[in-house]
């Protein structure tokens, strides 16, 4: 094509444009006819047609997103080819010049809109409110610094029967002006990101001048452009300045929304309709009540758990004391057998005292067997299960501090701060 003349170029370009329109129109006509519309022409109608006709598979949202993306990409290609053909000395297009001329941020401004701004646009009610506010404040007096003049005008004291209402409207208007200011700051940052993206794009292009690294397709050029745009955007979006701007815009929109909510609530109350605040109050009380009920249920369960734990604890204590008494009795008998004389009174008293620690309802012959069972029980449960149950109880009823202490006690073999040296890292 380097040998083509400029008129040939233009002819081809015109043919491309026609083919492009035809291709889109053909698809759009099908979609429109399915959606009950007549024939349409042009890209915008085409994309709208798909909004109207979601297709049978429920992929309407995906189609919508694809259409948005495709529109921008097609615009990128068309503007690039158009600019290149207009700057084609001797029939050889200057792509770099074309890029500079045709450059807009890939994705267009919509891709870089603040999420709240975009969401608000999509919300019909809020959108109407926004439009109404825009109309209202668009008629207010301007000047060298309209925003400041408007703000000072809006700070005039209110008076009379409708004073409160007027104050609310003034606050809403101030919130609106502030929102517009923050939005302008945000858009300026996005412009900065676009400029930075183009700088990076030029840098990336300069790295591809050697044969073999050159870009040979519009798609490759586009992909490189996207890489640069994302890098430029990330630099801005991660900056401290952007943090301030983003936060300020979000907060400004919230103040404005809040004002609108209050106005709607006032109107709803006047009309005897339930309001969002009332619903919120009910919801909050309901959740608080649920927590109380749950705590109550949990409390009952823990009372049962406590009673069980007490019984276990009493049994265990009795078992341990019984075992000690048996040991002492055995020692005393052994001593008596060894000397061939009766055990001294003191030893017998000690043994009896030990026996008395065992519940009186149990008869001596069964006591030893019971002690053995208890010892086995102690061995089986201590320290893990019993401590864990204590932990569960303490954890839920007394708070985490107690729970942690018990847990720590379970891990008594690891005193102090755990070691880190043994950590494995891959």
């Amino acid at each position: 094509m380097g040998e083509s003349s400029i008129p040939d170029w233009m002819k081809q370009w015109q043919a491309l444009s026609q083919q492009s329109v035809n291709a889109w129109t053909e698809v759009a006509r099908d979609a429109m006819s399915q959606a009950g519309h007549g024939r349409v022409d042009g890209f915008e109608q085409w994309s709208r047609a798909f909004g109207a006709g979601p297709g049978k598979g429920g992929q309407a949202e995906t189609i919508e997103r694809l259409v948005d993306g495709a529109k921008n990409y097609v615009a990128f290609m068309q503007s690039l080819i158009a600019a290149a053909s207009a700057n084609a000395p001797n029939g050889v297009p200057s792509w770099s010049d074309a890029l500079r001329q045709a450059f807009t941020m890939p994705g267009g401004p919509a891709s870089f809109e603040h999420p709240l701004m975009r969401l608000w646009k999509e919300q019909a009610t809020a959108g109407h409110a926004q439009a109404a506010l825009g109309k209202l404040f668009g008629t207010l007096p301007g000047g060298a610094n309209p925003a400041e003049e408007l703000k000072s005008w809006l700070q005039l004291p209110a008076f009379g029967y409708l004073r409160e209402h007027q104050e609310h409207q003034q606050k809403s208007a101030v919130a609106w002006v502030d929102y517009q200011e923050q939005l302008a700051r945000y858009n300026a940052k996005m412009l900065e990101a676009a400029r930075r993206g183009f700088e990076l794009f030029e840098g990336k292009l300069s790295e591809r001048e050697q044969p073999g690294r050159q870009i040979e397709s519009l798609r490759a050029l586009y992909d490189l452009w996207v890489d640069a745009a994302e890098e430029g955007y990330a630099e801005i979006a991660l900056s401290k300045e952007f943090r301030d701007v983003y936060g300020a815009l979000t907060n400004a929109q919230m103040r404005l929304r809040s004002q609108i909510h209050q106005e709607i609530e006032r109107l709803s109350a006047d009309l005897g309709m339930p309001t969002r605040s009332e619903l919120n109050n009910i919801g909050e009380r309901l959740q608080a009540l649920r927590r109380e009920v749950r705590a109550q249920r949990g409390g009952d369960a823990f009372i049962d758990e406590l009673a069980t734990l007490r019984r276990e604890f009493d049994d265990l204590r009795a078992a341990v004391e019984g075992a000690r008494a048996s040991d002492r009795e055995g020692s005393a008998k052994a001593a008596a057998v060894g000397t061939g004389t009766p055990a001294p009174k003191a030893a017998r008293k000690t043994a009896r005292a030990g026996e008395q620690a065992v519940p009186a309802t149990k008869k001596p012959p069964k006591r030893r067997a019971r002690n053995a069972r208890s010892e086995r029980a102690v061995a089986a449960v201590a320290p893990g299960n019993f401590a864990s149950r204590i932990a569960r109880f303490a954890d839920a009823s007394l708070g985490s501090r107690t729970g942690k202490n018990v847990e720590t006690a379970e891990k008594a073999h690891k005193p102090g701060k755990p070691r880190k040296s043994g950590k494995k890292k891959h």
Partner: protein, 355 residues
């Protein structure tokens, strides 16, 4: 020699061909039925409000004695871990003999506006853990927390260490204020009280738009242009749609929980700085004393690796392992490499600690 060597005729052809393919892609999309997700059979073992705890059923009974409970983030739907037959963390874990349960949070509505992090962590998660322990007849479970669910799992494990045998965190933010964390940068100056008081629950669409703004051109435009490359591949097209469905299938966020999460985790960075309280309980990562496996993605644009890899410096356990996965926040579940590497790594790590 310039950097661009595009033949004008080829450029014209390319532009036209691309337009035709895009039109064809849209036409194809209009004919495609809705895609399904979820590859593995499951049964509900516990329900409470909108929450359901599922147990997945594998082709054979599990050999692992301690079950895994997956705690997913609130901000997306949990079926990402079982997206389709050949992209399923769950299926691969079951094949290794693990016993896998999952918490499905459902879709919060206005009735859930007042749910706090205490309700979620010391309430829902605690009762789900108890339910799984009862069902599996064990005292402790293995927790597998993902993304925000990983942060919740860390809190839970710190507050209830006696209920957690092993803790696995995947793409989990721990230090919420590392320099590469774009989301964190955006919320630092947010008046979150005003935000939640005004919005109530945080709309899912708003959350989605925020995520798209992390890479606005790539996510709003370039990936759709890439559709022309897979137009003729029905399977790839369905995979794309399935992923697309998951990305935009987001629940609203309960207002109070969102308020506390932004304040304490993003703005206060209390998980690493200390001072975090969930309800009446203190959360101290030094109390995470059970073995910990931390898996993060090296190309994660949502949770930068730097936000995850610091976990080892803060937990109290002396048995800490971390794995850096070559991929992104989503690829760690659905990429081919993830299918091969991640479930095997989790299973092997658990098996070593089961001996």
């Amino acid at each position: 020699m310039g950097p661009i060597k595009i033949e004008p005729t080829k450029a014209l052809d390319e532009a036209l061909t691309t337009q035709r393919k895009l039109a064809a892609a849209i036409d194809t999309l209009r004919q495609v039925d809705d895609v399904d997700f979820g590859a593995t059979a499951k049964e509900a073992i516990y329900r409470e409000d909108k929450l359901v705890v599922y147990r997945f059923r594998g082709d054979r009974p599990p050999t692992a004695k301690v079950p895994i409970l997956i705690v997913y983030a609130l901000v997306n739907r949990p079926y990402m871990v079982d997206l389709q037959d050949d992209r399923s963390l769950v299926k691969n874990l079951l094949a290794k003999g693990e016993d896998v349960y999952l918490i499905d949070w459902g879709y919060p509505d206005l009735a859930d506006r007042w749910l706090t992090l205490d309700d979620y962590i010391n309430g829902y998660i605690a009762r789900s853990v108890d339910a799984v322990a009862r069902h599996a007849r064990v005292r402790k479970v293995n927790l597998l927390g993902i993304c925000q669910g990983g942060a919740f799992s860390l809190c839970f494990a710190a507050m209830h260490p006696h209920k957690v045998q092993n803790l696995i965190t995947m793409v989990t933010p721990v230090d919420f204020q590392t320099p590469e964390n774009m989301l964190s940068n955006w919320v630092q100056k947010l008046d979150v009280d005003l935000f939640v008081d005004t919005l109530g629950n945080v709309p899912a669409d708003l959350m989605n738009l925020c995520y798209l703004m992390l890479k606005p051109v790539r996510l709003n435009q370039q990936k759709y242009i890439g559709l022309v490359d897979i137009l003729d591949d029905k399977v790839e097209m369905e995979n794309f749609l399935r992923m697309e469905k998951w990305i935009f299938d987001s629940p609203d966020q309960a207002g109070e929980a969102f308020r506390q999460f932004i304040k304490d985790f993003y703005q206060g960075n209390k998980l690493v700085r200390g001072g975090l309280k969930i309800g009446e309980r203190d959360v101290n990562l030094a109390d995470v004393t059970m073995p910990v496996l931390n898996v993060f993605a090296e190309q994660d644009h949502l949770v930068p690796p730097s936000a995850s890899r610091v976990l080892g410096e803060h937990v109290g356990t002396d048995d800490y392992t971390q794995i850096a996965f070559r991929g992104g926040h989503i690829g760690i579940y659905v990429s081919g490499r993830a299918q091969r590497e991640v479930p095997a790594a989790i299973h092997d790590w658990l098996a070593q600690r089961a001996r």
